[in-house]
């Protein structure tokens, strides 16, 4: 168990900077998820923690000790790779024990550690098989087992589920979350899948282009995104955005008119941040587009596509201003393509972002 701290870390490849001074706390025993689109630097940051990439500037501390110059194996950190990276020529047992053998651990201890890890991961019956004889899910378990046997202070997972099919992914997601609670070890988990991030994380770190955009619990990020990027990235289906102009400001709310429509709505955000006539972006999540009459304002759309998902339905539509919106309805939807629908906008669930830099106008916390 350990607490990790990144302080102003930077990574450059030649003159090209990929991590621009990231600072972050990795609390003891928590599962922190790095999430972001491809190329945002999340894997690089993880590899810097692992010691596989050098830290060009800044500090990485583990329990207060600088780790920058400590070789990967001495950091007490174990990593599970995207491709599993099992040694193909070794049996599962040898894969599990290889790291301990390298560390010259006594045989008895190795056997005990392998037995414990294989019991936790339920792979006892696979110990004498080679990786090529295992299914994707089993390989994944062995890869995790290889990390567990070393009893590391910190686990790192680099997109470990991306090679699995949907069903297995969900199963392993639950498994890893269970394991994390059981072992109570600090974990850092990298994914580009925001559902994985939302379901597993104690805390989510959203990255974009080598910068940390926001850090917080899944619910905090969902309800109170700091900017339009985080709002759009967290949540599925993604948040709808519509251009808006400030028409009035009072102590408790900012009233905006949606560009190109007749809709006006007063959103309860900190008013001092906005000025009349300012360009903003209004954000509303698909499940928060309510049926007509159940909101503080209404917006009309023409339905362009209906996706029946069984438990709920997604309604794709276009506003008078030509902006595409998605609404989520519980159960089956009777909506038809070409139909005109009016949705209610609940002001408490609306977000406002500055058009210029995408920053959110702070909402009142409920």
């Amino acid at each position: 168990m350990a607490r990790g701290q990144l302080i102003d870390v930077e990574k450059r490849y030649g003159r090209h900077s990929v991590i621009h001074g990231a600072s972050l706390d990795l609390p003891d025993g928590e599962l922190t998820v790095f999430v972001g689109p491809s190329g945002c630097g999340k894997s690089t940051l993880l590899r810097m923690i692992a010691g596989l990439e050098e830290i060009d500037d800044g500090l990485f501390l583990l329990d207060g000790e600088p780790m920058n110059d400590v070789p990967p194996a001495r950091r007490g950190i174990a990593m599970v790779f995207q491709s599993y990276a099992l040694y193909p020529h070794m049996s599962v047992r040898q894969n599990l024990s290889f790291g301990l053998e390298t560390a010259r651990t006594p045989r008895g201890e190795i056997a005990a550690a392998v037995a414990r890890a294989s019991r936790i991961l339920r792979i006892e019956h696979l110990l004498d098989r080679k990786p090529r004889e295992l299914s994707g899910g089993q390989r994944q378990r062995v890869a995790i087992g290889r990390a567990i046997v070393r009893q590391p202070r910190m686990f790192l997972f680099d997109e470990p589920l991306s090679n699995l099919d949907a069903e297995l992914r969900q199963e392993m997601r639950v498994e890893i979350a269970r394991l994390q609670k059981e072992l109570a070890t600090t974990m850092v988990y990298v994914t580009h899948d925001q559902i994985e991030a939302m379901t597993m994380a104690d805390r989510i770190v959203v990255l974009r282009e080598g910068r940390i955009e926001q850090v917080g619990t899944p619910v905090a990020l969902y309800d109170h995104p700091d900017n339009q990027f985080v709002a759009g990235f967290i949540g599925s289906p993604r948040m709808n955005f519509h251009g808006a102009v400030v028409t009035s400001v009072d102590g408790s709310a900012v009233t905006v008119a949606l560009t190109g429509t007749t809709t006006q709505i007063a959103v309860p955000v900190a008013a001092q941040a906005a000025a009349i006539g300012e360009q903003l972006v209004l954000g509303i999540r698909p499940p928060n587009l309510h049926p007509s009459g159940q909101g503080d304002a209404e917006i009309a759309v023409e339905i362009t596509l209906v996706e029946q998902l069984g438990g709920n339905a997604l309604l794709y539509g276009r506003t008078e201003a030509g902006v595409d919106l998605v609404a989520q309805e519980p159960g089956h939807s009777a909506a038809q393509r070409g139909e005109r629908r009016v949705f209610g906008l609940p002001s408490a669930q609306c977000h406002l972002f500055r058009h210029s830099d995408g920053l959110a106008l702070p909402r009142r916390r409920s």
Binding site: G51, I77, T102, R146
Partner: protein, 300 residues
């Protein structure tokens, strides 16, 4: 058109007819191709078969025999040829085997170490050194022959096997290094990183991860290294002068160089024996030899 109106039986008959036609055509093509290949193989093999046949013939029949199947068999050429010189062929074979064994081990070990460094380690000047190494592939061996000879002469290594084997121990065969670099690069980097996380030093990664995963390329290098050194005539010709140091090809040359033409049968007998090791390698390692040859682009 409704399903009932479809003439299922008629359509099936048409399909069967066109399939039969295609099948007949395919068989004809295959027959022609095989005939062509048999003729070409016979042309290529004839000299070899003739040599083998002639090795069993009495000396006076050799130059008049045309058929690759001898009329009478005699092992005289083999027994006489084996002891034709002051030094017996046992010695030549031992010399050849020693040179080949050291070369194979040296080439595989030294080349793989160098290739590992080029493929996996980061060090300043890696690209430049790799380029220089490739450059040596492009210089004909004959160009460097005289400087090499002078070097070995200064070391007083002439008429010993050292000039033939020591370079192999030092990874002087750029060609095998290149072959292995290409192979090592196909091993996923994540496996090596996992080994680093497991605490492996580069040496342990080489020994425990890269080597066991590279048996195909190591076997290819070993086989080709064996064939090249077993067949090598030029190197031994330059550096070996005493008969007791000769390898098998040099000893064969001694037959051809002897003044009377009466040793032709013995030459063929010993030549037949000398191709046996290479022949066996081909027989047992055919798959590796072929894939290796494809990988090598058959440089030599």
């Amino acid at each position: 058109m409704s399903d009932a109106a479809l003439d299922i039986a008629g359509l099936r008959a048409r399909l069967a007819g066109s399939r039969a036609r295609a099948h007949r055509l395919h068989r004809l093509h295959r027959l022609l191709r095989h005939c062509g290949l048999v003729v070409l193989c016979a042309a290529a093999l004839y000299p070899l078969l003739w040599m083998v046949a002639a090795s069993f013939l009495p000396e006076d029949e050799i130059l008049t025999a045309i058929s690759p199947i001898p009329k009478s068999w005699s092992l005289h050429n083999y027994t006489a040829g084996w002891n034709a010189f002051d030094v017996s062929f046992t010695r030549f074979y031992l010399n050849s085997a020693l040179i080949a064994a050291i070369s194979v081990v040296g080439n595989v070990f030294a080349s793989s170490l160098a290739a590992f460094a080029f493929a996996r380690l980061r060090f300043p000047g890696r690209g430049l050194l790799f380029g220089l190494m490739l450059l040596t592939l492009m210089i004909p061996a004959h160009v460097t022959l005289i400087p090499q000879y002078v070097l070995f002469q200064n070391l007083d290594w002439i008429d010993s096997i050292l000039p033939l084997v020591v370079p192999k121990l030092l990874g002087c065969d750029a060609f095998f290094i290149f072959l292995m670099v290409q192979f090592f690069r196909t091993i996923p980097r994540e496996i090596e990183e996992a080994a680093r996380m497991d605490g492996c030093s580069p040496w342990r990664i080489y020994r425990r991860i890269i080597m066991p995963l590279s048996t195909p390329v190591l076997a290819t290098a070993a086989i080709f290294s064996f064939i090249f050194t077993w067949d090598d005539f030029f190197g031994p010709l330059i550096y070996l002068s005493s008969t007791e140091n000769f390898n098998v090809p040099l000893a064969l040359r001694a037959f051809a160089g002897s003044d009377e033409g009466s040793s032709l049968g013995q030459l063929f007998a010993m030549a037949t024996l000398s191709v046996m090791p290479v022949f066996l390698v081909f027989v047992f390692c055919q798959r590796l030899v072929i894939s290796g040859a494809a990988g090598l682009g058959l440089k030599r």
